[in-house]
């Protein structure tokens, strides 16, 4: 891998003499993430490769595709949204499949560390407001410059989720209740259609002791209601036990909204709540999907199986949202 990467890097990084420390970080069969260092007379340059190896074409279903991801990161970076700089978009002569190389941003993505470690103590009170500003930056990107993306509405999202849930053929009365609530409370198409990150939460945010350093993983980016991102980041599943701090377990909605509005954009709190309920159900349906993949394959791991048993967490959260017991 280092040899192939080295040849590629030599063609686009002036002065590069090779590549070292290449490690595969994660990914399934169709997508890989690698970390490596570019050897350069001025010192090592940390880099990340995101790619689909040869033989894996367009990303399935909801994914925006690696080319779109690279373009979105570039646009975000240029607009001042914390984002890794895209260094190179893979071309056929690179012999690396499709994808891109970006600068490696140092920091933490693991929620439990961000919420508990002393080193982030000063950052935590700032994060919700910062995320508001970051979301506003994402939603403010000019739609005319964006790559081709799916256009989503609440009704479409709901229909997709319901189809997936029905496909599991396993009765979940609480999910049924949530589906009814969502259908009854659909706020209709948003007046304003913007870029939506689509997975704006812990795990896709690099945090340093100074706060948010980068937004990652634009795989689920689409056009739609900007309030979707604000609702998703409030889903209880991303609070990691800090349930009284709705934004990622570190802040309040008020702080998130204040950061968003200070950047010149308007919050519609009712829509945000709608998307929080939608997001809670969506994570629940995703947990059920993990169970399917465990049972049917290709991933028979214990981890997948156990995520299947986390769907009930979203059921209690849906009940807390839709039928609170008055405590």
């Amino acid at each position: 891998m280092e040899e192939v990467l080295g040849r590629s890097v030599a063609s686009w990084c002036r002065g590069a003499t090779g590549v070292t420390n290449a490690v595969r970080l994660s990914g399934g069969a169709s997508q890989e993430t690698w970390s490596f260092d570019i050897q350069h007379p001025d010192g090592l340059i940390g880099a990340i490769l995101r790619r689909a190896p040869q033989g894996y074409g367009a990303a399935p279903g909801r994914a925006a595709g690696l080319d779109a991801e690279a373009r979105l990161m570039q646009l975000a970076y240029d607009a001042g949204v914390p984002s890794p700089r895209v260094l190179h978009i893979l071309q056929p002569p690179d012999d690396l499949g499709t994808g891109f190389v970006m600068a490696r941003v140092e920091g933490e993505t693991i929620a439990r560390k961000i919420l508990r470690d002393e080193k982030f103590a000063n950052a935590r009170p700032l994060l919700a407001r910062q995320l508001g500003k970051v979301a506003a930056g994402i939603h403010g990107l000019a739609v005319s410059e964006l790559p081709k993306l799916r256009r989503m509405t609440a009704a479409k999202e709901l229909a997709e989720m319901e189809r997936e849930y029905r496909g599991f053929d396993w009765p979940r009365p609480v999910f049924e209740l949530a589906l009814c609530w969502l259908a009854d409370h659909d706020p209709g198409p948003s007046d304003e259609v913007t870029l939506v990150h689509g997975d704006f939460r812990h795990g896709n945010l690099i945090i340093g002791p100074d706060g948010v350093r980068a937004v990652l993983d634009w795989e689920l980016a689409h056009l739609g209601d900007p309030m979707e991102d604000l609702g998703w980041v409030c889903v209880n599943s991303w609070r990691f036990g800090e349930i009284d701090k709705p934004v990622g377990g570190f802040g309040t909605r008020e702080e998130l909204f204040a950061g968003y509005e200070a950047a010149g954009r308007r919050v519609d709190a009712k829509r945000v709540t709608f998307w929080e309920v939608m997001g809670t159900l969506r994570w629940g349906v995703m947990c059920c999907g993990m169970m399917q993949r465990f049972r049917i394959g290709p991933d028979h791991s214990m981890e997948r199986a156990m995520i299947g048993r986390r769907a009930s967490e979203t059921e209690i959260d849906l009940l807390r949202l839709l039928a609170p017991r008055g405590n």
Partner: protein, 126 residues
Amino acid sequence: MQDEPTPEELTKAVADFLRNDITPQISGHHAFKLRVAINVLDLVTRQLKLEQGSDAAELARLSKLLSMPGSLGELNRVLADQIAKGELDLQTPGLAEHLWQTTMDKLAVDQPNYASHKRELEAKGD
């Protein structure tokens, strides 16, 4: 009738062995996998202990709520269907209580330490 020890006692014995004797000897990715494995066994142990009681209570509630006999699986399908059709909703007497109790019983097996579950337990003392 099968002999003792019970499945619950057996899974607990294995989980305790892995937790106390093997965990200190393992590191890296296998340590992570081992933690997951212990969590699996703990979940199964809880289910073996609690399932019979919670299933019986759920079946009794469902039969009353839907005014019909049936198995747990059948009645849950009927309930899901009636909620989807709008024939039952949160105004229906007993529905919210039923869903809450059923969900609390699931969490007691799946993830008793989930913060929302602990909060609801404290609030209601159940």
